[in-house]
Symmetry: C2
Subunit: 333 residues, 2 copies
Amino acid sequence: MAVTIREVASAAGVSVSTVSRAFTAPDQVQPTTRQRILDAAAKLGYSPNPAARSLRGGGTGTLGLIVPDIANPFFPPIIKAMQARARHLGYTVLVADSDEREADELAAIAAVSKRVDGLILWASTLTEDRLHELAGRMPLVVVNRHVPGIPEVRISLSAGIAQAAEQLKAYGHRRCVFINASRAELSRGKSIQESFEALDLSLSELGPYEPRFETGVHAATLVAAHDATAVIAHNDLVALGVLHQMANLGMSVPRDVSVIGIDDTLLASVSTPSLTTIRIDPEEIATRAGDLLIETIASTTGRTGQGLEVTSPFVEIGSRLIPRASTGPAPAH
Amino acid sequence: MAVTIREVASAAGVSVSTVSRAFTAPDQVQPTTRQRILDAAAKLGYSPNPAARSLRGGGTGTLGLIVPDIANPFFPPIIKAMQARARHLGYTVLVADSDEREADELAAIAAVSKRVDGLILWASTLTEDRLHELAGRMPLVVVNRHVPGIPEVRISLSAGIAQAAEQLKAYGHRRCVFINASRAELSRGKSIQESFEALDLSLSELGPYEPRFETGVHAATLVAAHDATAVIAHNDLVALGVLHQMANLGMSVPRDVSVIGIDDTLLASVSTPSLTTIRIDPEEIATRAGDLLIETIASTTGRTGQGLEVTSPFVEIGSRLIPRASTGPAPAH
DNA sequence: TTGATGTTTGCGAACGTTCCCAGGGCGTGT
DNA sequence: ACACGCCCTGGGAACGTTCGCAAACATCAA
């Protein structure tokens, strides 16, 4: 069996209370006693039982993260970064995915909710009412979703898009196409439309389609029909579909057409040609979302998050263009 | 506060024991009573507190999975599949990564070990002694690692490699290159060497390098020097590096040279040209590893895994060739 | 009718921890 | 010398659940 606090106590010749304090409130116990306890604990290989701790009411020390799809290459770096951040703050992260179906999301929430101190819901499919109800039951942070009264992290593409528009403009492009493959109501199209208009670039929108490779393949064949010389895709995966089909059609990227992705996933850096894309920094978003949740937890428990400065319950993450080889000067004519 | 078993008990007019049994041993309680309890529980929104459960000694209902790198595109589909399998069997999965460093792996193990019923260690960096010690303390399954006496899942590439060799042979290739980018002692090279020899194909080995995109880029320039017409890379990522550099060198794939990857990650299916690769089925490996762990847990606890047939503590996962567009006939001469 | 057997239920201890409360020791100001 | 306060420590209840034990009741054979 695992070694308990009691064994450490008798080994150190103190009571269990003192051992407990030696770990949770080190300054309330005399340094010499404390050292004796720590030594005994180390020798016995003691570490506190999280189940007992959380039963007593101390929280679980775990954050829940529910993303649409773990296998979507956009998320793994975020998960990884959040793990790192959370561990640094003494938390563990429990990840699950919703497959973008409400039923699965509810199942995932049910599976993790009792094991975590709070939940980060990424692009939740739940109704606003349900989210409010959930937020009443436990600390909640939503990402890529706006629900009044619930702490939120939002990804803003506008900076990256503006940079993309600038680059295309500078390269002499005039007519562009946006491939909309968003299944959610919040399309990236509106923001793009505005940025391009501001620079006097014509932009046609294709779709909406599903955010799949084949969508890019399909849409690529339509680009020529729009007489466009640049394509901006809903994400890197779709952009790769475009790249693929352009090659099939005997067109050269970026000589004949420029292609821009969104997300800066691994895909973008290893494609041929490498993909110019709009980057959303996974570390930043993971850190901000994690911190926001911990802060929300702290404010409900009263227990203070260790050294986190107070932030607004609304956080915006920026983006920027990562120029690579898939964009270049517009063809002469 | 959350609703407890006591409230359900008084609502249903029975004792807490009976409520507990209604959930954990349904056949020990009279059907009518049981129904009354279930109704009350549903109305109150009761669900058992996992912390209390595991404190009492019932296990945590969680499996730990430690992989080298969550962001490596090979793992997300495996994680996803294991989550699905585990949930189906009433378990949750807690994932962490080791970054292939012993210190980080130990930290990850420390962080999760008290919260899980057992651990799956993927390509562990730990010494055999440490692993044995760990296995003595909790149920353990290792993947891609052989330690006598510890349940193991091994990935066998031989079938896929044989198919690859066959295909290259049939396409008339004679001289091939293998890019070794394994940091572990167990290189994929030996198995490959054997398969190719068996078909009378010449195989030169490059490396060992790090398993990175740039490795492929670098190695590609060496292929011509070996007078080879086919490349088999340590994994898809390295293969994409080869593809990338071949394009830079003005060589066409598969016209001038054929390229084969390993793993069949998302990368392989969306590259241009799409990548012929050796597939390891993520669902199979996740299922087998998960089941093996649950079984190991059951055999130590005495608690029987729900309806899993007994398997040997050694499981081998096969592989097969996924032919795509990066392989083709050898150049005429 | 009686004893044996089986089914359904309740009581209460135990899991490992935290934290409130109280008590003892010691220094300080009067 | 006394009272007061502070620092350090120990005792013990509580968290929500499971499970061994035994009581209550029904069934059935002799």
